[in-house]
Symmetry: C2
Subunit: 333 residues, 2 copies
């Protein structure tokens, strides 16, 4: 019979979850003390990132299952470590839970988290469980590691560098539009919905790119291609040219816009939460890196533009050679 959180209490819930998480601990001391004790790898730096998801701001329980919600909450953190060229090793999970939430909901969330954590050898080693008056909130911190020479920052892009992106864009944004429409999701459009609720962080790709030593800057596409490229340009003090015809639009995105309307290219340019990796490298390294990522991970990499001087701004080059401000959005065309 479903049990509400108020029936088991904080410590009852911790005991239930602790038992289930034991297989992904991967720590000297995990859940059940004041802090987790981890053994850092010699010669590596530590990477720390945090992301919070709040009900009705980032998701609605009407369209995401607790299992997917757990997966996604961890995925966006793993993606941040990947974008540094690092290997995620541990996660701490803090949940603010409404008292009438069912214990099974929380357990399913941990199931989703654990599935993804296990796939990448990440230990869930602690956190906090507290009561929320209303909205469900998930706050996760992920710790990772990398050799210092493999860490890739946002700030290293140089004028002349090529701009590349893994996979394809827009599926997550299309999936969100689909889910928010409130209509039943046709089977053919499930990949878009799935891209939104259960995204694939490019964990292996990020490590391969970091270890290559040839990536000059990297970020994950969480705010959208335009916004995240702007972050790279700001931190690197450069500008960018993106060729519209080269931007890889996800087939799932195109399929959704054909069925429910919307602009697939706008979604690919500005839609967030694709969790692809956006990076730069010297032009001479484009082919080598593209082949390396494809061979080691199976993931396609596409060159979409190049870095220019800061004063030239961020521009999107159209098919006819004219250009527009990339961050102005695409809908206005």
């Amino acid at each position: 019979m479903p049990m509400k959180l108020s029936q088991v209490g904080e410590f009852g819930l911790i005991e239930r979850l602790r038992h289930r998480l034991a297989t992904t601990q991967n720590a000297v001391v995990g859940i059940g003390d004041d802090a987790a004790v981890l053994q850092p790898t010699r010669g590596h730096v530590l990477l720390v990132t945090a992301d919070a998801l709040v009900e009705d701001t980032h998701f609605r329980c009407s369209w995401i299952s607790p299992d997917d919600l757990g997966w996604k909450s961890l995925a966006c953190n793993l993606s941040d470590i990947a974008a540094m060229g690092g290997r995620p090793t541990h996660a701490v999970v803090s949940l603010a839970l409404p008292p009438d939430l069912q214990v099974e909901f929380v357990e399913a969330m941990y199931r989703g988290m654990r599935t993804l954590a296990k796939a990448h050898g990440v230990g869930i080693v602690g956190g906090d469980l507290v009561k929320s008056p209303e909205a469900l909130m998930i706050s996760i911190t992920v710790v990772g590691e990398a050799r210092p020479a493999h860490v890739v920052l946002r700030s290293g892009a140089k004028v002349g560098d090529a701009i590349l992106v893994t996979g394809a864009l827009g599926a997550s944004s299309a999936g969100l539009a689909l889910l928010e429409s409130g209509k039943p999701v046709p089977r053919a459009l499930l990949p878009a919905a799935r891209a939104h609720v259960r995204p694939t962080p490019r964990v292996q790709e990020g490590q391969v790119l970091g270890a290559s030593g040839r990536v000059t800057s990297m970020i994950d596409v969480s705010d959208g291609l335009a916004g995240d490229l702007a972050h790279i340009c700001e931190e690197s003090r450069v500008g960018a040219r993106v060729a519209l015809e080269r931007v890889p639009v996800a087939p799932a995105c195109t399929a959704v816009t054909k069925m429910i309307g919307g602009d697939a290219i706008a979604m690919a340019l500005s839609g967030g939460e694709d969790y692809e990796l956006l990076f730069t490298c010297a032009p001479k390294d484009v082919e080598r890196l593209t082949r390396l990522v494809k061979r080691t991970t199976g993931t396609a990499v596409t060159e979409i533009g190049h870095i220019v001087a800061a004063r030239l701004g961020l521009r999107l080059v159209l098919r006819d050679g004219r250009s527009r401000d990339l961050r102005g959005g695409f809908k206005q065309f």
Copy 2:
């Protein structure tokens, strides 16, 4: 003029805070990339802890200032690292903020956090800022470090060990009762209110105790003496005897109960959030550790009982020699 968050946006707020936090960075790469990059100290293990505070569950904005709220949110995390015998080094701060909150409120929160962080050499190196539909939520992860031999767990208490506690208990709980009463706080009772809204984590004391190599188990008093001693007993598979007459009741707690009623001893036994350190050691080390902590930090340590076999349970020994279940609460007497 006060500005609402919705007027400056997420990135505007990050820029304002990033500037102010620059002085406490203390990292290879801090705020402004996908993850912070930290340099672990060779020969040390890593400690990671997380705590979340939610409006109307853990605090009310009617009785805590934003500056104190920031301080307290960080303090409870530093206390967890102290309870492991470690040195806190870095914090990541995730905030879920209602859109009509004023920017100045958030900046004051960071001011409080930064004041405490700076006092302990802790760098605030990242986090996340998201929108909350209603309640303000603060989720902080603190990373620390310790030499492996100095780490103190909850699980090492042995039968015959003495039980000790730093400082005095009950002030925070009394302060909460005072604040929740809604009445104006008389000047004489300000120390109790302050103990609740701006607690002192025993950061130095924890490190001194850890480095002594003579502490067999340790925890911070966040759930209350009875509850936290129960955690030590569960993890160490032992029982405990606490002598009622030895429990150090904070003068601020006694003062509050004299004025507004309530049971000072019950508050000292069961009231949470004092953030004192509760620990065990061999009887022969009691005097040495007490003197060591007093000499290096100025903080008093009191021996309040001893560890017994698990089957003997957790008992509170009264003045007449009779005993009661410690966790049964004291109010029933």
